[in-house]
């Protein structure tokens, strides 16, 4: 009950602070621009002939992967910058004192705020991702192999960044917690690329160091899961045979191992609990 109250007020705040409207308008602009570009591509005539369907689909598939990358960064940044103030601002402005003088648990505030941000991000992923994929289909006829799985991976990625921002915000000011969470996401992404390079070069030390980063902040496995679900099988095959000097950050050869997904799930629970304990122990 109390958790639902805090989740609800978090969602209302995101709407009332015009964040939803601003992000919605910008997303609409991206979707409209994509629709226009893909429509032009599908109707382009080269030497008197329209481009053949396999060619259009190949370009559309590439654009979908790049769009997924763009949305992943937007989601990670959104998660970090929405979740951190949801916890830290209440502490900074003293409102938490009045809330905690009520017969409620500190954990209920943390979980409610976390849940509110997560619901907002999940709705954004479903609506923005769904509309974008629909536009690709309507303009080019291309549908990626596993769109729903990809969107689910993006939601999981949002959960990782949101959880990190919430835990950090239990001790840091909002801006610091948000920036650190976003930078951790960037670090994990780079580490994922370094891992690919390490594996391609046969350099185990490089690969191991990157794996360690992936365990500490497991967002990259989820990005790769989304990527694998969106890329046509032919892309994976090309990537698998590519040379060591041609590592492509927008292509993966295999989905993340199930153990890594289990780890990511456990990580979210453990870090959320750490955030709750941190808030509970804090003198206000």
């Amino acid at each position: 009950m109390t958790i639902a109250l805090f989740a609800g007020v978090t969602l209302r705040e995101l709407v009332r602070r015009k964040l939803v409207a601003a992000v919605g308008l910008l997303t609409l602009a991206i979707v409209a621009f994509t629709a226009w570009g893909l429509h032009r591509l599908a109707t382009t005539v080269v030497e008197g002939e329209p481009i053949a369907e396999p060619g259009v689909h190949a370009v559309a598939a590439g654009i979908v992967l790049l769009l997924a990358f763009l949305f992943t960064f937007a989601i990670a940044l959104g998660a970090a910058l929405a979740a951190a103030p949801a916890i830290a601002n209440e502490m900074a402005n003293g409102e938490i004192l009045v809330l905690l003088a009520r017969p409620i648990r500190r954990a209920e505030i943390v979980i409610g705020r976390w849940l509110g941000v997560l619901i907002a991000l999940a709705v954004y992923v479903a609506v923005a991702g769904g509309v974008e994929l629909l536009v690709v289909r309507l303009t080019t006829g291309y549908v990626p192999p596993h769109p729903v799985t990809a969107l689910a991976f993006l939601c999981a990625l949002a959960a990782v960044v949101t959880t990190a921002a919430v835990a950090l915000a239990s001790r840091l000011p909002a801006i610091a917690a948000g920036i650190v969470a976003a930078m951790l996401f960037g670090l994990a992404w780079i580490a994922g690329i370094i891992e690919s390079v390490g594996l391609a070069l046969g350099n185990q030390h490089l690969a191991d160091a990157a794996t360690l980063v992936a365990l500490v902040f497991p967002s990259d496995a989820l990005w790769r899961g989304a990527l694998f679900a969106l890329q046509p099988a032919a892309f994976a095959a090309v990537s698998a045979t590519s040379s060591t000097t041609n590592v492509n950050p927008f292509s993966v050869t295999a989905p993340p191992p199930p153990a890594m997904l289990v780890w990511a799930g456990g990580w979210v629970i453990a870090v959320l609990i750490a955030g709750i304990v941190s808030v509970r122990r804090r003198d206000l």
Partner: protein, 289 residues
């Protein structure tokens, strides 16, 4: 929403602190605070800046963990969630979300305490603090004084049995201060226990039954207002045609003194009890010579 257990203990002290202490590293914020506040009593909690007043108050609400000691609210150990049932709190420094209206802030708190007939209760507290006309406006448009009035409304919502007020008039103009004094007097009339942190000693003197003074984290005095100011001991000042005259008499002897002066032909213009103000007493306590 209160349990039968709580209602079964009407005679218990509302607030009890036993040897409460707080240390932040090497800094001791509060030494050994022991006090009791009875149901319906109004306690003034005084001390200079940095004396440990807000720390003590936050410990009583479970917002700061004591390094030592224990406390209860309405018979329940502080820290237990249910100890905070029936408690209202106005912090010294706070800001409500600027995107909400006063009515929305109060509505949220009403849901947090599962208040029945919330709309009526919200109207009542809005009237009580004089904010009803602006209740639908966003907090962002409020002056500091109006935000403090909203804070008071939140503290009073649901007719709590204990109200903690931390500098309730710090952002208010003289009119607002007078309103708050009247409000505290209404709380006393309703037998609500009031724990009042304030720098405004005149205010405390007027509304509180008892006063606890702390300095440097230690209790330096605790007594009734009359006990602290020594009202019974200092006689009266009488103004006659030729000015003020001091008379060292007990309070009970004042009528006889006046009768005697009149019988001797004096024309009495004014009679004032000659007592130490709380402010004078406070200064001697926290700034010993």
């Amino acid at each position: 929403m209160r349990s039968a257990g709580l209602l079964a203990m009407p005679d218990d002290d509302a607030i009890v602190a036993r040897s409460l202490a707080k240390r932040y590293g090497r800094v001791v914020a509060l030494h050994d605070l022991t006090l009791r506040v009875g149901p319906g009593e109004c306690l003034g909690f005084l001390g200079p800046n940095g004396a440990g007043k807000s720390t003590a108050l936050k410990m009583l609400l479970g917002l700061v963990r004591p390094t030592a000691g224990e406390a209860t609210l309405l018979g329940r150990p502080v820290g237990e969630r249910r100890a905070r049932e029936g408690v209202g709190y106005l912090p010294e420094l706070f800001r409500y979300p600027d995107w909400q209206s006063a009515r929305e802030v109060l509505g949220f708190h009403a849901r947090l305490i599962r208040l029945e007939r919330a709309a009526r209760a919200i109207d009542m507290v809005l009237d009580e603090v004089g904010l009803r006309e602006r209740a639908a406006d966003r907090v962002a448009t409020y002056s500091k004084g109006m935000q403090q009035r909203l804070g008071l409304a939140v503290a009073l919502l649901g007719e709590p049995r204990i109200v903690f007020l931390d500098e309730p008039t710090s952002a208010l103009d003289p009119l607002g201060r007078s309103d708050v004094r009247a409000l505290i007097e209404r709380l006393r009339a309703r037998k609500t226990t009031v724990f009042l942190n304030s720098h405004l000693l005149g205010e405390v003197e007027r509304v509180c039954d008892r006063v606890c003074v702390i300095d440097g984290g230690r209790v330096v005095a605790e007594d009734t207002v009359a006990g602290l100011t020594g009202e019974e001991l200092r006689g009266v000042r009488v103004r006659t045609d030729d000015g003020w005259h001091e008379h060292d008499v007990a309070r009970s002897e004042i009528p006889a003194l006046i009768a005697r002066l009149v019988a001797q032909g004096a024309r009495i213009h004014a009679v004032e009890p000659n007592r130490t103000s709380l402010e004078e007493r406070f200064l001697t306590l926290v700034r010993p010579v």
